[in-house]
């Protein structure tokens, strides 16, 4: 049930518990990103081909070998989907957290600029967020292509 609570709804509670500081922001981002990663990891592990598990059993793999040689690589595509989705959630959460429950940061700066009708600073903050979002997405994508290059191979030589 906990994961059905929109994590942004926890902002008042987080402010009351932790105040307006970095730990409040980090806690909100952690809560917001935890579930996409958790759900995708869980689903990835549950979806591992049972035939491969059985093959591992026939090779007498230990639990550790089974995890690192079969389960983790098989679940990795789904785990990376979760991480990439979580990165999007992370930026959204950070913007909201910095706007509402912070005394510093880009969101705070944008909010402050809004109060002084400083349009240029507001636009700058949006552009900075866009650049950071793009960079994090590119990093996630490069991880995907590095770790999942086998998915891009087709039947070219058969």
């Amino acid at each position: 049930m906990f994961r059905n609570i929109p994590h942004l709804a926890l902002i008042p509670l987080i402010i009351l518990w932790l105040g307006i500081n970095e730990s409040a922001k980090i806690s909100l981002v952690a809560i917001g990103t935890m579930f996409p990663v958790y759900i995708n990891t869980f689903h990835g592990i549950r979806s591992v081909d049972p035939d491969l598990i059985e093959m591992g059993r026939s090779y007498e793999l230990t639990k550790k070998q089974m995890f690192f040689k079969i389960i983790f690589p098989a679940a990795l595509p789904q785990i990376l989907v979760g991480i990439r989705y979580a990165l999007g959630v992370m930026w959204t959460t950070l913007i909201v957290a910095e706007t509402i429950s912070a005394s510093s940061g880009i969101g705070y700066m944008a909010n402050n600029a809004e109060d002084f009708v400083d349009m240029e600073t507001v636009v700058l903050c949006i552009v900075v967020y866009a650049i950071l979002g793009k960079i994090s997405d590119l990093i996630a994508k490069s991880f995907e292509s590095l770790l999942l290059d086998w998915q891009n191979t087709g039947r070219s030589n058969a």
């Binding site: 035939d51 093959m55 090779y59 040689k69 098989a74 086998w150 191979t153 087709g154 030589n157």
Partner: protein
């Protein structure tokens, strides 16, 4: 042909039930070293269950499977109907998977040459055809120098031509390496072509056995296949005299 003297696998009074459903009933079977056995029968006859029990992937409800070697775990390898290659590993890495051999790469390369896939070492399984994947699976099964090869319908999904080539390849390897082999197949002709002995699995037990002639020709294969098929289908046996 190989000398068939020692009993390699001894199956005694095996029973296997799943939630009151009998999969195997009182199966007794001795398989000699170097022997090529084919298990045939209708679907649900218990042949795959028997193979899985021998492989140690399942435990019998009662009875025992005895492998006549001290270290039975490393000397037995299973090749399944699906290739079960790890898609994130190259062909060479798939072969090295699970191997404790120190000269793994060199041995893997040798086996790839044996299955005529030496040029595909760096390819991923998705880049291979069905027949090529099964050849890689065969090479992987041979990686740890097994004494027993368990084949669970490994050629079931292949086209007729590739299937025939794979049959020849498996037969050649099994004879050269003196492997004790158990083949589960739906194809009676395949069994008659490859096996030293055909076991018919019917009504959850081994109901009939047929010894196949050595150096058989196409006609003898046909006769054996007809006889085995008759047993599976409960047809009246017609005696055919062979030259």
């Amino acid at each position: 042909m190989n000398e068939l003297n020692n009993t390699m696998i001894s199956i005694k009074n095996i029973n296997k039930t799943y939630n009151n459903l009998t999969a195997l009933h009182d199966v007794n079977l001795d398989i000699k070293q170097g022997e090529f056995i084919a298990l045939v029968g209708m679907s649900g006859g218990g042949k795959s269950t028997l193979l899985r029990l021998i492989a140690g992937l399942e435990r019998p409800t009662t009875g025992s499977v005895t492998i006549d070697q001290a270290d039975s775990k490393t000397l037995m390898r299973v090749m399944f109907q699906e290739d079960r290659l790890l898609p994130w590993m190259s062909v060479l890495d798939n072969l090295s998977f699970g191997s404790k051999d120190k000269n793994t790469k060199a041995h893997a390369q040798e086996l790839l040459e044996l299955v005529e896939l030496e040029d595909y070492a760096d390819h991923y399984p998705t880049q291979l055809s069905g027949g090529q994947k099964q050849r890689v699976a065969l090479a992987r099964a041979l990686m740890s120098h097994p004494k027993i090869l368990l084949l669970d319908e490994p050629l079931g999904a292949l086209d007729a031509l590739t299937r025939r080539k794979m049959q020849d390849l498996i037969l050649d390897i099994c004879q050269k390496q003196n492997l004790t082999t158990i083949l589960v197949t739906h194809d009676v002709e395949e069994a008659a072509r490859m096996a030293d002995r055909i076991i018919v699995m019917k009504d959850s037990t081994n109901s009939y056995e047929e010894d196949c002639p050595k150096n058989r020709n196409a006609g003898q294969i046909g006769i054996v296949a007809d006889r085995v098929l008759g047993e599976i289908l409960d047809e009246k046996r017609v005696e055919i005299k062979t030259a």
